[in-house]
């Protein structure tokens, strides 16, 4: 009975396509298309390949963070440290590269591992020590922020430019090809982002790790009583989150030139907003990587597009806030109807 009334009120819910992708994600996809279309119509300059590349540039580091933190959120937790861990790992590995002449390959690996280390610590604090994820990761947010500055002695770090020795690593994320009518940019980072997204999507949906992370986010006690080692899998979710923050650090270094110590606070919220817009449940038990990517692209389209119509960057935050609230409210309203 309740079904028929809700479908009368909201024909969207009964649409088979919407049903398949989920209401919230359907809204997110729609929002992405509408936003993109809007900017294309509003600004001729937006309809250029280079704009498209800068949208992608802006989405790498948020995208990697968001993929990782999706796992932490699916457990029903949160990881607030990813933004500062990103900067911390990039600062430390960048200092090693520029001041200590450590080979770039090693620096990149160390950058990722710093993320893994923070993820492991967060995971142990949550699963073994029993700290609330919000508190544990708030602590490591502050620690990583401070540690990065301490390590660089509060100096900014400039990674090698692509023309300089060691600058090759920037090609991982963008290759400039000289052509007759100017430079042609190939956004290789986008391919990397997609590959890792597919890999993590398989991990989430097709492996024990993903299954247990989802299960413990849905009902931790029931999962434990089923004989599953919840401590291990909960820790792993945070390791994913940290490691991807490390990867994000590398991509951030490759996309932007200079890193300032003490920055990075707030980046995690962009990533978390992307995850939530993409339909992952903050209370745990449900989430998709595809949704997360859509959420991230909404953010970067806004970020890149708004200056084209003469709005300053702060409008990005302003508008993203509305998108976030509307997307989540649609989901909450939908679920309320279902449970009735």
């Amino acid at each position: 009975m309740s079904n028929s009334t809700s479908s009368k009120k909201n024909p969207l819910i009964n649409n088979p396509v919407v049903k398949a992708v989920g209401t919230q994600r359907a809204i997110a996809i729609l929002a992405l298309i509408v936003l993109f279309g809007f900017f294309c119509i509003a600004s001729p300059a937006f309809r250029q390949y280079s704009t498209f590349v800068s949208i992608l540039d802006a989405s790498y580091y948020i995208g990697f963070m968001a993929i990782g933190v999706t796992f932490a959120i699916i457990t029903g937790g949160i990881d607030l440290s990813i933004g500062t861990v990103l900067v911390c790992s990039s600062l430390i590995s960048g200092t090693l590269a520029t001041k200590y002449n450590v080979p770039i390959v090693i620096c990149l690996i160390i950058g990722v591992l710093i993320g893994t280390f923070f993820g492991l610590c967060n995971g142990l604090m949550v699963s073994v020590m029993g700290l609330p994820p919000f508190i544990a990761t708030l602590g490591s947010m502050m620690i990583s922020k401070g540690f990065g500055s301490i390590f660089t002695k509060a100096q900014s770090v400039t990674w090698p430019q692509s023309s300089q020795p060691g600058g090759w690593f920037r090609n991982i994320f963008k290759i400039n090809v000289a052509m007759a009518e100017g430079n042609m940019m190939i956004p290789t980072g986008f391919i990397l982002l997609l590959i890792l997204a597919v890999v993590m999507s398989v991990v989430l949906n097709k492996t024990r790790a993903g299954r247990y992370i989802t299960a413990l986010g849905s009902n931790k006690e029931a999962t434990r009583l089923s004989g599953v080692n919840v401590v291990k899998w909960e820790t792993l979710a945070f390791i994913f989150s940290g490691t991807f923050a490390g990867i994000a650090g590398v991509s951030y270094a490759a996309t932007y030139s200079t890193l300032l110590p003490g920055n990075g606070g707030g980046l995690e919220l962009d990533a978390i907003a992307g995850v939530v817009i993409g339909g992952t449940s903050m209370s745990g038990g449900y989430g998709t990587i595809a949704g997360t990517l859509i959420g991230v692209f909404i953010m970067s389209v806004l970020k890149t597009g708004l200056p084209f119509i003469g709005l300053q960057n702060q409008y990005q935050q302003f508008i993203t806030g509305f998108v976030l609230i509307i997307a989540v409210f649609a989901d909450v309203a939908n679920r309320k109807k279902k449970s009735k």
């Binding site: 097709k206 299954r211 299960a215 849905s218 029931a222 999962t223 009583l225 004989g227 599953v228």
Partner: protein, 497 residues
């Protein structure tokens, strides 16, 4: 009969302040359905938790298939072949049916989970059990009955030799119960041992071979089901020495005005068409077994849960109750069965808790008038004989009985004339109990009207002027105190319709 699968001997278990199991004996044959019965709190669930390793026993012996066992955790007992179908379902609602059934034992192809194989296996399992459920459906979309079937399938898929059903039919419809019984008979035919915990007399006769009754943590006796009657079992269940004298007659004059009238109230699944009147100065007992819908009725009247339909009149005026504020404004106070979660704020002081519902009367401009808060709460602490060093003491430091008095004070300060006491003496020791009883009688004598929900029959019989009995969300009896007895209440409380 065939051989024993389980023998429990002299099981003893104490928690802080509670002797939960006192040398309990229990045995089970292969191919037997053995009912375990007793009132709420008799120790049935504790016994089962000891068996499955959730609790460690203090003393006693457990033999499973002839071997002495001492399970340390549920995993060990599961591996030995003991599965339990819990009363509260332990499901991961976001996963599919098959994913739930095989959680912790996923079927793999290489490193990847083979969901298709698990779906096929689950389907085979369901076919064997004659259950019609799509294994790829999300668990949260199933009805509670279907979820229960999944839980059973999960237990069986683990090669269980002994299955404990803990009130499996509490949430099932009649046809689902039929299906469940068919499954249980199948399992019995396969020579499995089945322990069946239920409150429902009529089911016991249909499905079980023997009945063991527990009372107050003690083993009372075991009967062959087909040789005994419903009243034999009820007598064993309630046969404790009643140290509290039942009330002889109602204290309410016949012409006392009706202060609260509930007409055809429906709310959710456990409040169906409930009607009753409450008179001035009356203590109206609400009796019934667990899950009968008494608390749900109280919560609906108090506006804590949404009302689907029905009318509520206070002092003859029809009122709309949509939120607890509406109820409080109409003079209704609710003392929750779960004091710590819903009744008091344990870290706050006695004074702060006492004025919680009336804070707007204790302000001076923007600020709280601490002095008046103190004098007023001291007044009520004295009136209710609350034992607290000062009213500034945090409630967490008080005993259960005194905490309850603080909650009462909260509603008295608010000047509520209708008080709903939900399990007012739960977790309170005997001395404090009689003080609470005394207090309730005094309140009634002063003209307050009380609805008392209680699972303890002696408490109902001692306190109530009139008794409403519920079963599965319906009112199945209304008895005057003169005609009520433990047996007549039990009869109504197990009346299924």
């Amino acid at each position: 009969m065939s051989e024993l699968i389980l023998k429990m001997k002299g099981i003893d278990k104490s928690f802080v302040g509670v002797h939960a199991l006192k040398g309990v004996d229990f045995d089970l044959y292969k191919g037997e359905v053995h009912a375990l019965m007793g009132e709420n709190g008799a120790g049935k669930s504790t016994l089962m938790k000891v068996l499955t390793g959730i609790y460690a026993k203090d003393s006693g012996e457990i033999f499973f298939e002839g071997q002495e066992v001492n399970f340390q955790n549920p995993k060990e007992s599961q591996e030995a072949g003991i599965s339990i179908v819990h009363q509260e379902l332990n499901m991961m609602n976001h996963l599919t049916v098959a994913q739930n059934i095989f959680i912790g034992r996923e079927m793999m192809s290489g490193k990847l989970i083979n969901d298709r194989k698990m779906n096929e296996e689950a389907k085979k399992l369901f076919e064997k059990l004659n259950i019609d459920i799509d294994p790829s459906e999300t668990m949260g979309n199933l009805t509670v009955g279907k979820q229960q079937m999944c839980e059973i399938a999960k237990a069986i898929s683990k090669d269980a030799k002994l299955i404990v059903f803990d009130e499996p039919t509490a949430a099932l419809t009649d046809s689902e119960i039929e299906e469940l019984f068919k499954i249980i008979r199948d399992l019995r035919a396969k020579n499995m041992g089945i322990i069946y915990i239920s409150h429902r007399m009529d089911e016991i006769n249909v499905i079980t071979d023997r009945v063991t009754v527990m009372r107050d943590g003690e083993y009372v006796g075991t009967l062959i089901t087909k040789d005994c009657t419903k009243s034999d079992i009820i007598n064993m269940m309630v046969g404790r020495v009643i140290y509290e004298d039942p009330k002889q007659k109602s204290n309410v004059p016949a012409d006392a005005p009706i202060v609260l009238s509930v007409k055809n109230l429906n709310a959710g699944k456990l409040v169906k068409d409930i009607s009753f009147d409450l008179r001035r100065g009356e203590i109206l007992g609400f009796s019934g077994l667990m899950g009968a819908g008494r608390t749900e009725t109280a919560r609906a009247i108090f506006g804590a849960d949404p009302i689907d339909s029905g009318e509520i009149y206070v002092n003859g005026t029809k009122i709309e109750i949509k939120t607890p504020q509406d109820a409080v404004n109409a003079g209704i106070g609710y003392l929750s069965e779960d004091r710590k979660r819903f009744g008091i704020i344990v870290e706050k002081s006695v004074a702060e808790n006492s004025t919680m519902a009336t804070l707007e009367n204790f302000t001076k401009g923007l600020f709280i008038d601490k002095k008046r808060e103190k004098t007023e709460s001291e007044l009520y602490a004295a009136k209710l004989k609350t034992k607290t060093p000062t009213v500034e003491t945090a409630v967490v430091n008080l005993s259960g009985g005194n905490q309850q008095k603080v909650v009462i004070a909260k509603w008295l300060v608010r000047n509520c004339d209708i008080l709903i006491f939900d399990e007012p003496t739960r977790g309170i020791d005997v001395g404090a109990k009689s003080e609470i009883y005394h207090l309730m009688n005094e309140l009634a004598a002063q003209g307050k009207s009380i609805i008392m929900i209680s699972s303890e029959l002696p408490e109902i019989l001692r306190m109530s002027d009139r008794i409403v009995v519920m079963c599965e969300g319906r009112k199945t009896g209304e008895l005057s105190i003169e005609e009520a007895s433990q047996a007549s209440i039990m009869d109504a409380a197990t009346l299924r319709n």
